[in-house]
């Protein structure tokens, strides 16, 4: 009896101290979240602010909302074209990766041929190449190919990514091959097999891949920056970085432009949060 009561007492104490620890942990977690989110709250409020004070800080005492910063971006600052460019480029690059990485992944997962290990090795080695190291030859190459300052320069080099080939090969090798075999016996071509059988089974991997590729491409700065020169070919990050040096731009406008650039990624993030984290984790564990 005594022992039981004592046991219940300690259990109660443990439970109470556990719930206390839980609340403390929660408070710490919220505090850390504040550190990571505060700059974005500042960005959002700034983009909707009627005026910043002269020092460049948000005037919270006299804060009033306005959408004028957003509308003037398209009329004054010419952000319309960069926005369209970013959308076109990111969508085509994502689509290209979905298609081409599946094809390559399929061959690398299913076939045995001379030089296959070499191709696999090339994928892994290229993943390790620091991309900023080759900005000069990439600039020259697009000039020589005659695609400098065009959509092709923004799209072609990124249409097939090594990470995509790698992920798709890994994923397809875990799929059973018997459906492909029976389709083949029925006379289906290899293209039909990939399109009708492999692609649908790859949906989870393709979702991870497309979110990943879209995000990276949407945010990409250095290549769109060096591979284009005219204003009409700028993507959103490039336009944004160059707007800053522009005299007539004010901070609320700059913040509104930043919001427009950050919005699609934020929406993607909220909707596909799990896919994004999965993509990063699987890329890390397998890579």
């Amino acid at each position: 009896m005594d022992g039981n009561e004592a046991g219940a007492g300690t259990a109660g104490m443990i439970a109470r101290s556990q719930s206390k620890a839980r609340i403390l942990r929660l408070a710490v977690a919220v505090g850390i979240a504040g550190v990571f989110l505060a700059p974005f709250v500042y960005l959002l409020l700034g983009s909707l602010a009627k005026n910043f004070n002269l020092a460049g800080t948000l005037d919270l005492a006299n804060y009033s909302f306005t959408l004028a910063n957003y509308s003037s971006l398209f009329t004054q600052a010419g952000l319309y074209r960069p926005l369209i460019n970013s959308i076109i480029v990111a969508l085509i690059v994502t689509l290209g990766n979905v298609l081409f990485c599946t094809l390559c992944g399929y061959v690398l997962a299913r076939r045995r041929f001379k030089g296959k290990n070499l191709v696999m090795l090339s994928v892994v080695m290229v993943l390790m190449i620091p991309t900023h190291v080759v900005i000069i030859p990439m600039y020259l190459l697009t000039n020589w190919l005659g695609i400098f300052d065009s959509y092709l320069a923004l799209i072609l080099p990124f249409l097939v990514t090594p990470l995509g080939v790698f992920l798709m090969r890994q994923y397809i090798s875990t799929l059973p091959a018997d459906m492909e075999e029976s389709a083949r016996l029925e006379g289906a071509s290899e293209w039909t097999i990939v399109w009708k059988i492999v692609m649908p089974l790859c949906k989870p991997a393709l979702a991870v891949l497309s979110v990943q590729v879209f995000l990276v491409n949407w945010n990409s700065f250095i290549y769109p920056f060096i591979l284009t020169s005219s204003e009409s070919m700028r993507t959103l990050p490039v336009a944004l970085a160059l707007l800053q040096g522009y005299q007539s731009i004010n901070i609320p406008q700059l913040f509104a432009a930043s919001m427009i650039s950050a919005l699609p990624t934020t929406i993607l993030f909220i909707v596909f949060s799990r896919r994004i984290t999965e993509g990063i984790i699987s890329g890390a564990l397998k890579g």
Partner: protein, 293 residues
């Protein structure tokens, strides 16, 4: 039959592989090779003239004050951010992973800064760091001294300011990788240790940290490769200034090669960066592997 090759190479296979093969040759191998060749020339884009000059570019680089500064700054940036980013990422991963309520939510929030465009983050911080900006306000309230002209306009604080932003931005990304590694540690190990009466500190030292080693190596190498290539932050926030105090190697490559069009000279600088990254990554692998043995 899982994962079995269903046969020999077919004609269609080459066509299916060709997108990668073309990308590999044209946009990866060719630029690397071209960069190597160009670095031994004095090719000038504007005049279109140039010939082989041997190691002249490299010897010139080592006596170029701006380049030496760029190398030092890049090393400082890497050495000054890596330990903090990785330590914070591990601590945060352990914190998130220990049955924290709303774990997935908090994990996503901490990770959020790394999915926003670097340009946007750099723009936000430019105003936060500015004269009269919020960071000065906070430091003023705490009584901590700060440069009056703004953090990005002072030679002493410009680089550390960019470094602090980088740690803030990338911690959540690496946290996610460490969470993945933590989840692969079997729970039985902790249960057994708890039965033997091992304390939290001991469990951390004996179980958690050793199991994080492979991921630690991966993160170390990945973060090194990324840190050595810092460019966007510098372009948006300081343009290498004030007085070259934030000049980094990639920014130098950009300025020499694509701004002044000294192609050969810029390519040589890029190749030094390439070699530097390879050496450091290799050293890190050796270091962690030896510790493991």
């Amino acid at each position: 039959m899982r994962g079995v090759s269903t046969g020999r190479f077919r004609g269609s296979d080459l066509l299916m592989l060709s997108p990668w093969l073309a990308t590999l040759l044209l946009f990866w191998l060719f630029p690397v090779a071209a960069s190597l060749v160009l670095s031994f020339t004095d090719y000038q884009l504007l005049s279109g003239q140039g010939g082989f000059v041997g190691f002249d570019n490299f010897t010139a680089l080592f006596s170029d004050q701006t380049f030496v500064r760029a190398v030092i700054n890049t090393l400082l940036f890497t050495v000054g951010t890596l330990p903090f980013t990785i330590a914070f990422a591990i601590l945060l991963a352990i914190f998130v992973n220990r049955n924290l309520p709303f774990k997935t939510f908090f994990q996503s929030v901490y990770f959020f800064p790394s999915i926003v465009s670097l340009v946007v983050v750099a723009l936000i911080y430019s105003t936060l760091y500015a004269r009269g900006g919020y960071i000065q306000m906070i430091l003023g309230m705490l009584g901590i001294p700060y440069p009056a002209e703004g953090f990005l306009f002072s030679e002493a604080t410009a680089l550390p300011a960019i470094m602090a932003m980088d740690v803030w931005m990338s911690t959540g990304y690496y946290m996610l990788l460490f969470v993945a590694a933590l989840q692969s540690i079997p729970q039985e190990l902790y249960d057994a240790a708890a039965l033997e009466g091992a304390g939290a500190w001991h469990r951390l030292k004996a179980i958690t940290l050793p199991h994080l080693k492979p991921m630690l190596l991966f993160v170390l190498v990945l973060n090194t490769i990324k840190s050595f290539q810092i460019f966007v932050e510098v372009f948006v926030m300081t343009k290498g200034g004030p007085l070259n105090s934030t000049m980094t190697i990639v920014y130098f490559v950009y300025e020499e090669g694509l701004h002044k069009f000294n192609i050969g000279y810029g390519a040589a600088a890029a190749n030094i960066l390439f070699i530097l990254i390879a050496i450091i990554a290799w050293m890190e692998m050796k270091l962690v592997q030896e510790r493991q043995a």
